[in-house]
């Protein structure tokens, strides 16, 4: 009896677990179709660039079609893993530059070194961005575009608060923020500078500005470096700046809500984020919105910003590698990159760079440690947790940074 009951229980549970874990979609390779995964940014920001590349590709390869499928940052890697297992991975995939190393190390991408000469401006690619697509000296990903982080602000609110000159140091910005707060007392919950509590991209800028870093290598091993005095000074400056300027939830992230939504509803005088944030500030504030470079604590310098960006790679499972490389050539052509630049992005090569606020902000930038397991630090929310703990005052900056640092050491060394 006991055994029967146990078996019955196991069977019932198994049904549930299997139903929850089994999910696969059938999709077969077609010889004359190229499947491309791009992030939704392209769908909302530059569908014309995608269409132009597809048209060029169709012209060069009559009879071939390009099927562009748009993905979300939140779950595109899990979907990609599933398609790798199922043998129906796309022919081209867009990857965040912080996501590349783990996949290159696992051998997920095809070596496209031999096609390098066919890509426009490949000799002058942005060094930092191009480096994220190289592993063991081979080219696995081509740089697509980069983005720096800038301050998007309301000129009307700044004028009303009597701010004549844009801040050129962190101290000036903090002083301006209190003027903004005083001038907008009537707006409930108004943030002079809206910063999500766990926006680690912005918080780490303070760390790098004060000479700290997330991690460094020592004797062939990664060592978390957030507990260094410089890093702690940066985190403390972030905490002070947040408390002085932002009314955001201390546990919120920079996607929920999107800072530009808070801004477009009149809840913020300025927001921090990618240059393309100007897209979505709302019709009401469109004409009174401008951008400037986030100032460093050292007067006259920009604060180092996170140089985000995307690469494009060809999964090793693709049956059309040469064709995929050919589509890449069309998609990252000089013409495409110039269109991307016009939309507020940083193009992939130095000879295309202009002097927009975005590009000036990129003059000083930082990037995540180039470690195979970095993406686990990112997705494990180690930095976000640390920031929430610091802002809520549960631990001192030093304690929280030490905990996070130990954790980062463990994860980066692959345990």
């Amino acid at each position: 009896m006991k055994a029967r009951v146990f078996v019955a229980a196991v069977a019932a549970v198994a049904l549930g677990v299997v139903a929850a874990t089994a999910s696969a979609s059938g999709q077969h390779h077609q010889a004359n179709k190229l499947t491309v995964w791009l992030q939704v940014d392209a769908q909302s920001g530059w569908p014309d660039v995608v269409a132009a590349a597809n048209a060029q590709f169709a012209k060069d390869h009559p009879g071939y079609t390009v099927d562009v499928q748009y993905q979300n940052w939140g779950d595109h890697l899990q979907k990609f893993d599933a398609t790798l297992a199922g043998g129906n991975a796309p022919d081209v995939i867009e990857m965040g530059n912080t996501e590349m190393t783990k996949y290159m190390a696992a051998g997920a991408f095809a070596d496209i070194s031999s096609f390098k000469g066919t890509f426009d401006n490949s000799a002058t690619w942005l060094k930092g961005l191009a480096a994220s697509g190289i592993y063991g000296g081979k080219l696995f990903g081509v740089p697509y575009y980069a983005g720096s982080r800038v301050v998007t602000y309301r000129t009307d609110v700044y004028n009303k608060a009597g701010i004549k000159k844009l801040p050129s140091s962190l101290a000036e910005f903090t002083a301006d923020a209190s003027k903004l707060a005083a001038a907008n007392k009537s707006v409930k919950g108004f943030s002079p500078v809206y910063i999500a509590g766990t926006d680690w991209y912005f918080a780490m800028s303070f760390v790098y500005d004060f000479g700290g870093s997330i991690a460094k290598t020592h004797a062939g091993k990664w060592v978390g470096n957030l507990d260094s005095p410089q890093s702690v000074a940066g985190l403390t400056a972030f905490k002070n700046f947040f408390n002085a300027t932002s009314k955001a939830s201390k546990t919120s992230d920079e996607n929920h809500p999107a800072p530009y939504d808070v801004y477009s509803q009149g809840g913020a005088g300025s927001i921090i984020g990618p240059g393309w944030f100007s897209c979505c500030v709302g019709a009401k504030f469109k004409s009174t919105t401008a951008q400037f470079v986030m100032p460093s604590h050292t007067k006259g310098q920009p604060m180092p910003g996170f140089l985000g960006g995307s690469d494009l790679a060809v999964p090793v499972t693709s049956g059309n590698k040469a064709l995929a490389a050919d589509w890449l050539k069309d998609f990252i052509s000089t013409g495409s990159e110039k269109s991307l630049q016009a939309k507020g992005n940083i193009p992939n090569a130095t000879n295309l760079l202009g002097s927009s606020v975005n590009e000036r902000a990129a003059a000083r930038s930082w990037f995540v440690p180039a470690a195979k397991h970095w993406v686990d630090v990112e997705n494990g929310n180690i930095l976000r947790n640390m920031l929430a703990t610091i802002l809520k005052g549960k631990l001192t900056v030093k304690q929280a940074a030490a905990n996070a640092s130990d954790n980062i050491t463990l994860v980066l060394n692959g345990s």
Binding site: T21, K102, A106, T198, G267
Partner: protein
């Protein structure tokens, strides 16, 4: 005695096994074969793969090559030596107990309420419950999140307007306890309709004359519930409880989406989110499989008690 005598009179059957007879005897098995085949394919094979996976080192590298490396019990021992696993297990058990208790108690109370309502109100309440039931989980999570969000949540606004305190910019997701509270509210809300409708149907089986008799004998309404209604409800409540345990222990969608990927951490894992984080986000599928098999056994142990009770009840009747 009479029966014994009768059985003695039955002739003992000695019939030879012939091909026709063997064929006829096989018919039921043949008929059931397709079903066994389908169940085997749908349930057995994935389960077999899962078990095999749990004994392998299977990460991104192996995934691309479609070949795992056998590592014996390493995945299991690494999970069992992981502090996070034990903390998560404890949290999940407490979470499950709270969710199941709220679901069953509130559901039963609502079902009792339904009995005493005027037909109109009953129809209204029932339609409300059916609406809850018909709402897809992901949609429900989005609505719930929208109502409780920090910037302009409707709940925050309503509570402030009702002068229950200042809930402007109140962060419902600030602490683990509060996060779990929100998830519990959402899960119980979503689970109520099934419990209410089922218990209501069971309550209809309670003979009115028994209740009446108890009342005439001067039993209090609590006493009547305990001694008259409860014994009849018991089998149904047992089934509902064991099903709720199964659902709530392994729950994933609600906590993962409501708390959000950017906020999940070892400090607020439930078994479902822990499994997802270890297996999928970290792309360590072997370890993920080991966790899901451990979960399987834990839930089986948790529900054994209830299934046994159910089987016993069935034996008596």
């Amino acid at each position: 005695m009479a029966i014994a005598a009768e059985t003695k009179e039955w002739p003992r059957r000695h019939r030879r096994l012939t091909w026709t007879r063997a064929g006829r005897g096989a018919v039921p098995y043949l008929l059931i074969l397709p079903v066994i085949g389908v169940i085997g394919a749908v349930l057995g094979y994935p389960l077999y793969s899962l078990v095999r996976l749990s004994f392998q080192q299977y990460g991104l590298f192996e995934l691309i090559r479609h070949a795992g490396v056998s590592v014996g019990l390493k995945n299991f021992s690494s999970v069992l030596h992981d502090q996070v696993f034990w903390h998560t297990l404890l949290r999940s058990v407490i979470f499950t107990v709270a969710n199941v208790a709220f679901t069953i108690v509130l559901g039963t109370s609502l079902a009792m309420l339904l009995l005493r309502l005027s037909p109109w109100v009953r129809v209204l309440l029932t339609s409300g419950l059916v609406l809850v039931w018909s709402m897809p989980v992901v949609v429900a999570v989005q609505v719930w999140y929208w109502m409780t969000n920090y910037q302009n949540g409707v709940v925050n606004y309503a509570l402030t307007q009702l002068h229950l305190g200042d809930f402007f910019h109140h962060d419902w997701y600030a602490s683990t306890f509060s996060q779990m509270g929100m998830v519990t509210a959402l899960i119980v809300w979503g689970a109520l309709p099934f419990v209410v409708v089922t218990v209501y149907a069971a309550l209809a089986q309670v003979p009115g004359e028994l209740i009446e008799a108890a009342e005439i004998d001067g039993a209090s309404s609590f006493r009547t519930f305990r001694d008259v209604t409860m014994p009849i409800l018991k089998p149904v409540l047992l089934i509902l409880t064991s099903l709720s345990i199964l659902w709530d222990f392994g729950v994933f969608t609600q906590p993962y989406l409501l708390i959000g990927q950017a906020h999940t951490s070892p400090g607020n894992f439930l078994m479902g989110t822990y499994l997802f984080e270890q297996g999928y986000i970290k792309a360590d599928f072997g370890r993920g499989a080991a966790i899901s098999i451990l979960m399987l056994f834990i839930v089986a142990l948790l529900s054994v008690y209830y299934v046994r009770k159910m089987v016993k009840l069935g034996d008596v009747e």
